[in-house]
Structure formats: structure tokens, C-alpha cells
């Protein structure tokens, strides 16, 4: 290590900690590489673990320099967030609880703290206390960042899966030239209603559909929020020049709608998908004839 400047007594504790992290980067990284947090993730080589630890030390130094010891959103953390996420994900795959991950990060504190204390052996007691407190706070923030990153990774996974589920669950079917239908099955929440709306409106454009049928036979309940989304879909389709028909309102749902005092007055409704199709065909001017002798001319 090139001439180590003695642990100073100038600058704020944060500056001191920042300078310390930079000065002792290598020693801290080497010690952390042996802690379970790094050792068990980077199993290929110890060098890899040490390199990862160096990155984290650098990030902490940057956060300390910026005097943002408490801030989990500090810019310094952004560069190591991905790495921390990988480490957190590895731990959850290994079946670690949040508390265990937290304890592992906590395990990084003593080695760093001991180094800091030995660096400050000549400093006044008050100074030592301030600096160790600052480092402790910083390590606490790191712990929060790790946990937060791990949690939001999990959340991201759930969101991705939810989105996939939404897309799978919203098929748009072309029933006739100019008529599309979306049979909705399962509970409608706000996010899904949004996807339904966007999917249906896109289909209207693609299929040049003048009629769009929303069939809610498979929807168990309709609350006021869902009803509102249906109304919005109807209104948006109308602005685009298409008419929306809601079909398959079961008696229980009709009752709910009445109880909720919702006004579906401007929405065309039909009892079944077949009725809705018949309505749309009629409006398009397509006649329906019986499957009798002239069935061959059916179109």
C-alpha cells in the first residue's frame, strides 16, 4: 500500500469513512471474500469473490463521499445493485429466509469495523465513536439495499408472470368480418381490465372491426371498479368508431350492478354471446337465414 496517510482528524466522519474505505479497499475486500455472503455465491474462484467485494467497497466509498449514508437510493449503489441482486437471488434459491440474508450482510460489518478502529487508534475517543457510527450506519444501509433489491427482484418476477398470464388470458377472436370478441374468464382486476381494454382496441384497428363484443359469462363478480373499466372500454371504442357490446351478464351480476347504482345505460348489453353476435350482424346489415334449402347461399 503506498504511503498510508494516517487516520486523520479533519473532515466529517463520512469523509473519514470514505477515505478509509478507499485506503483499505484491498484488505476489506479480502476479508469479505471469506465471509459467507461472498464465499457461497462466488464458488468458482476466490478471486471472483474478492473482485465482487471490491465493487461493493467502491460503492460504499462513493456513497460515503456523497454524505448519503442513510440513503438507499444513493447513486453509489446503482452500480452494484445488479450484483447485489444476483447475490440475493442466489440466497433465496438456496432457501434462505430474509432474516438469514440480513444476518449475512450484517456479518460484513465486524471485519470492516475492526480495521477502522485499528486505523483510528491514535484518534480522540469522540472521533472514533463518530466514525464507527458512520460506518455502522453505512453498513445498515447496505443491508437495506440488499434486502430491497432481493425483494424487488421477486416482485419483478411476479409482475412478469402476471403480465404473461394477462396476455394469455385475453384472446381476441374474430367472429365475422368487422366483428371481434373477447371472452373474459376469471376475476377482472384493474391491471387486467387495462390489458383487456388495450388488446380489444388494438384488435379493432387490426381487424377493421365495427363491433367489439366483451363477453363476461366467465367473470364471477363485477365490482364498481370493473364496471367503470368496462364503461371506459366502451367509450374508447366509440371514439375510435366502433361499437362495444357487453354480453353474458349473469343475473347475479346484473343484480350487483343495480345494487351498486351503476348506470350502464349508454352500453349495449345482450344476454349471451350469440345474441350479441346476432345484434352486430343485424347492424352490419348481414341477414341470417335458416339452414334450410338455400343453406348453400349462406354467408
Amino acid at each position: 500500500m503506498p504511503e498510508q496517510e494516517a487516520a486523520g482528524t479533519q473532515g466529517s466522519p463520512a469523509d473519514e469513512v470514505g477515505a478509509f474505505l478507499r485506503r483499505r479497499r484491498e484488505q476489506i475486500a479480502q476479508r469479505w471474500a471469506d465471509e459467507s455472503m461472498f464465499r457461497t455465491v462466488f464458488t468458482v474462484s476466490r478471486d471472483e469473490a474478492a473482485e465482487a467485494a471490491r465493487h461493493v467497497v467502491d460503492a460504499l466509498a462513493e456513497v460515503a463521499d456523497a454524505e448519503r449514508m442513510h440513503d438507499t437510493d444513493a447513486a453509489g449503489f446503482t452500480v452494484v445493485r445488479e450484483q447485489l441482486a444476483r447475490m440475493g437471488a442466489a440466497r433465496s434459491r438456496a432457501g434462505f429466509t430474509t432474516a438469514q440474508v440480513s444476518a449475512e450482510v450484517e456479518g460484513l460489518r465486524p471485519p470492516a469495523l475492526n480495521l477502522l478502529i485499528s486505523d483510528l487508534k491514535d484518534a480522540p475517543a469522540e472521533r472514533v465513536r463518530d466514525c464507527t457510527t458512520a460506518l455502522t450506519v453505512l453498513m445498515g444501509t447496505l443491508r437495506l439495499v440488499v434486502l430491497d433489491t432481493a425483494l424487488s427482484e421477486g416482485q419483478a418476477l411476479i409482475e412478469r408472470q402476471q403480465l404473461q398470464l394477462l396476455e394469455v388470458a385475453t384472446p381476441v377472436i374474430k367472429l365475422w368480418d368487422g366483428i371481434v370478441a373477447v371472452p373474459l374468464i376469471g376475476t377482472l382486476d384493474s391491471a387486467r381490465s387495462q390489458v383487456v381494454m388495450e388488446t380489444l382496441l388494438e384488435a379493432i384497428v387490426e381487424q377493421h372491426a365495427r363491433f367489439a363484443i366483451l363477453d363476461i359469462t366467465g367473470v364471477p363478480t363485477v365490482d364498481s371498479l370493473v364496471a367503470q373499466h368496462l364503461m371506459k372500454t366502451v367509450a374508447a371504442a366509440r371514439l375510435m368508431g366502433a361499437e362495444c357490446v357487453v354480453s353474458g351478464i349473469r343475473p347475479a351480476i346484473a343484480q350487483t350492478i343495480v345494487h351498486l347504482g351503476l348506470d350502464l345505460g349508454t352500453v349495449v348489453t345482450r344476454a349471451s354471446l350469440a345474441d350479441a353476435l346476432a345484434y352486430a350482424l343485424h347492424e352490419l346489415g348481414a341477414g341470417i337465414v335458416g339452414p334450410a334449402a338455400d343453406g348453400a347461399r349462406l354467408r
Partner: protein, 146 residues
């Protein structure tokens, strides 16, 4: 040219020409941050409403745009400020259909429904600042007040 500088920008709002700049900047910034088409359109429309408010009611002002992050979520923050007369009754101003400027009265209340976060500060005689934030993906759970 402010629109090529990226997401961070301060655009003056002094004429209806500036409204076009505001819309184009917000469109490009939102696209750069990965907003979906519908969210882009909502945010640009909200910006248009708010910029027009700044122009018509505030006598002109500026829009500051900045990228924001919360956890892994990326968003766009737009602040519209003017040194105009201010708004005496905030609740009334946010109500649909209320207008003092001859519009449809959808400006403030409508813009609020198009964004994820909305805050309005106004002091009579000093000016008004409306700050909105929209997130590129689903809005993150609020950890603390923004």
C-alpha cells in the same frame, strides 16, 4: 436544441409554439425511458394540459423535466411552474368542469388522472407549480412520500 439533450431539460412556456416543444420533448423523453405507447400518450397529453394551464392561467412559465428512479422503477418527473396569480381554491381548480379560462375545465383534474403522482403548490400572488411523475412500468409501491 432542448429536445435532443435527452431527458433532463428546462423548456420555456411562452406561446402555443412552446406547447408543441413541450409535447415533443415529453414524447421523446418518455420513449427513451421505456414508456409503453399508452403511457407515453397519457403523459404527453397531461403535459400538454399542464403546459397550457401554465400559459393561459400563469401567464407563461417553464417546464423542468428529470428522470427519477425508485428502486428499479424508472420514471419521468415534469414540473410546470409560473409566477402568475396563483390558485386561491385548489380543490375547486381540480374539479372536473371547473374552468376560469374558457376551456372544457378538464385541464388540472384530467391531467391528474393521466399520471401516477400529482402535486400542486400555489401561493396567491406568487405563482403555481404543478409536479407530476409517471413510471415507465407499473408504479412502484410507495416507500415514502415523494
Amino acid at each position: 436544441m432542448p429536445t435532443s439533450a435527452g431527458v433532463e431539460a428546462c423548456l420555456p412556456i411562452g406561446s402555443d409554439l412552446d406547447l408543441v416543444w413541450v409535447r415533443q420533448h415529453v414524447r421523446q423523453a418518455a420513449a427513451r425511458l421505456g414508456f409503453g405507447l399508452v403511457e407515453q400518450t397519457k403523459l404527453v397529453t397531461a403535459a400538454s394540459e399542464l403546459a397550457r394551464n401554465t400559459l393561459v392561467h400563469g401567464g407563461g412559465g417553464r417546464m423542468d423535466s428529470a428522470q427519477v428512479t425508485r428502486g428499479r422503477a424508472v420514471g419521468l418527473r415534469l414540473a410546470f411552474s409560473d409566477d402568475g396569480p396563483g390558485i386561491a381554491d385548489l380543490e375547486l381548480a381540480l374539479k372536473d368542469g371547473y374552468t376560469s379560462g374558457g376551456g372544457l375545465g378538464m385541464g388540472l383534474g384530467g391531467a391528474r388522472r393521466l399520471v401516477h403522482e400529482f402535486s400542486l403548490e400555489s401561493t396567491v400572488g406568487v405563482g403555481t407549480t404543478v409536479t407530476v411523475v409517471s413510471w415507465a412500468s407499473a408504479p412502484p409501491r410507495l416507500r415514502e412520500e415523494f
